[in-house]
């Protein structure tokens, strides 16, 4: 009996080791500025590198999507549960998001925070994938999850001239909180000054 258990244990560990090399990765490109080619090029490069390691990568360029600001109507909770009542392109984001293994939030830092474009999508998507109900997790009130599983998340930032280490730390801490809110663990905060290969390796080893 013990041997049988051990056998299953070993095969499941092996399976996990083999399967974890292939992930569905989504990159949310929150760069609002079409003239900022450096940022988009970095993401393209990262996407190519991840694809070369057998990952299935989807990049959503948020500025090209029709997504309205959240108006706080709670439609996604009490009128059309699970999707935004505005019926804009948010559904495309939610579908890709919830079916991913890893989602990279990517944005230049503007006034010490990721873009309004990224935040707008982030807050709407988060509400859609959660239930309105409250639960207490680690002694804090949170929303109950709507889906059985959630992607891990990470953040990629491009420093602006005025962005210092404290800014990066504040953003990192807010995203770590966001991860708790959307029922997952926080992967990392990385900068576009890091080599693409390093960021890809970090995603590989998640």
């Amino acid at each position: 009996m013990t041997n049988v258990k051990l056998y299953f244990r070993v095969t499941s560990v092996l399976n996990t080791a083999l399967l974890e090399r292939q992930m569905k990765v989504t990159i949310l490109n929150g760069n609002p500025d079409t003239s900022n080619h450096t940022f988009d090029d970095y993401l393209k490069n990262l996407s190519d590198t991840l694809t070369a390691s057998e990952h299935n990568v989807t990049t959503l360029v948020l500025r090209d999507m029709d997504i309205r600001y959240c108006v706080g109507c709670w439609g996604c909770w009490v009128k059309t549960p699970g999707h935004c009542a505005a019926r804009d392109d948010l559904g495309d984001v939610c579908r890709v998001y919830i079916n991913s293994d890893f989602v990279l939030f990517a944005s230049p830092v503007i006034m010490g925070f990721p873009s309004a474009l990224l935040k707008k999508v982030q807050e709407k998507a988060a509400l859609s994938v959660l239930l309105p109900y409250f639960e207490q997790v680690n002694n804090e009130v949170r929303h109950v999850g709507r889906y059985p599983r959630y992607p891990r998340i990470g953040l990629l930032l491009e420093r602006s001239e005025t962005c210092d280490d404290e800014d990066i730390q504040i953003i990192n801490d807010i995203y770590a909180r966001f991860a708790l809110n959307v029922k997952t663990t926080y992967g990392f905060t990385r900068l576009t000054s890091d080599p693409v290969k390093e960021v890809a390796d970090e995603i590989n080893h998640l």
Binding site: G72, V78, P81, Y97, I98, F113, Y133, F134, P148
Partner: protein, 225 residues
């Protein structure tokens, strides 16, 4: 003293933020000669005017709900429009009110750090951030339950109108305990989950759909229906 106020709620004139501000303003205008100008950031088309108002202000108050661990998208868009003012302002002081649906103030502490840094970035003197949790219910609750809270905002505004500062004791009182006990949460959960949310779901004829997973592959999809 003239106070330039920005209401950052995406719900605009129908917001809980507006209700808190109303009581703050009533207190603020108790002091003779005090006046204020109030703008709703949700009126995005007036964006240019907001920047001018901010630039010309001597005392600024930004009140906002917490949206998913930070400022709402419209508030971030407003902050981005202020970028040309960085380092220009020397005189204005700025304070913030952050209110959340989650009951504990801890959820807003991270945005508080950002707002303190933002003030420095804009060259404004930072007056602090007033944090209040559990505000979502105030319009649904019977009047007597929100009365105390609104009175405290009135008092906060009254003292601010005289001194130009948020009263520290009232700020602590509004924030309340950083963590809630299991007992207190247990009672709140019944009120919020069973009463508040299910009532709203029923009202919209959506109670049967409340657990829908329209975007999940593994689950029964309703998206195609």
């Amino acid at each position: 003293m003239k106070l330039t106020i920005f209401n950052g709620s995406p719900r605009g004139v129908n917001s809980n933020t507006k209700i808190l501000l109303e009581h703050f303003i009533n207190g603020f205008t108790e002091t003779e000669g005090n006046s204020y100008e109030l703008s709703y950031l949700v009126r995005i088309k007036e964006g240019e005017q907001f920047v001018t108002l901010f630039q010309e202000a001597e005392h600024i108050l930004v009140a906002t709900p917490l949206y998913v661990d930070a400022m709402p998208g419209i508030v971030k868009a407003f902050i981005e429009s202020l970028e040309p003012l960085c380092g220009q302002k020397g005189n204005a002081d700025i304070g913030f009110i952050v209110q959340s649906g989650f009951p504990e103030p801890n959820h807003s502490r991270y945005l508080e750090r950002y707002l303190a840094k933002l003030s420095a970035r804009l060259g404004c003197r930072y007056n602090g951030t007033v944090i209040r949790g559990g505000v979502e219910g105030i319009q649904a609750l019977p009047g007597f339950m929100s009365k105390k809270l609104l009175k405290t905002f009135y008092e906060l505004g009254r003292i601010y109108g005289k001194t130009g500062k948020f009263d520290e004791q009232l700020v602590r009182k509004l924030a309340g305990p950083e963590r809630w006990s299991r007992f207190k949460f247990g009672i709140m959960r019944i009120m919020i989950n069973a009463t508040y949310w299910n009532h709203m779901l029923k009202k919209n004829n959506a109670l049967g759909k409340r657990f829908d997973r329209p975007y999940g592959v593994e689950s029964g999809s309703t998206e195609s229906v």
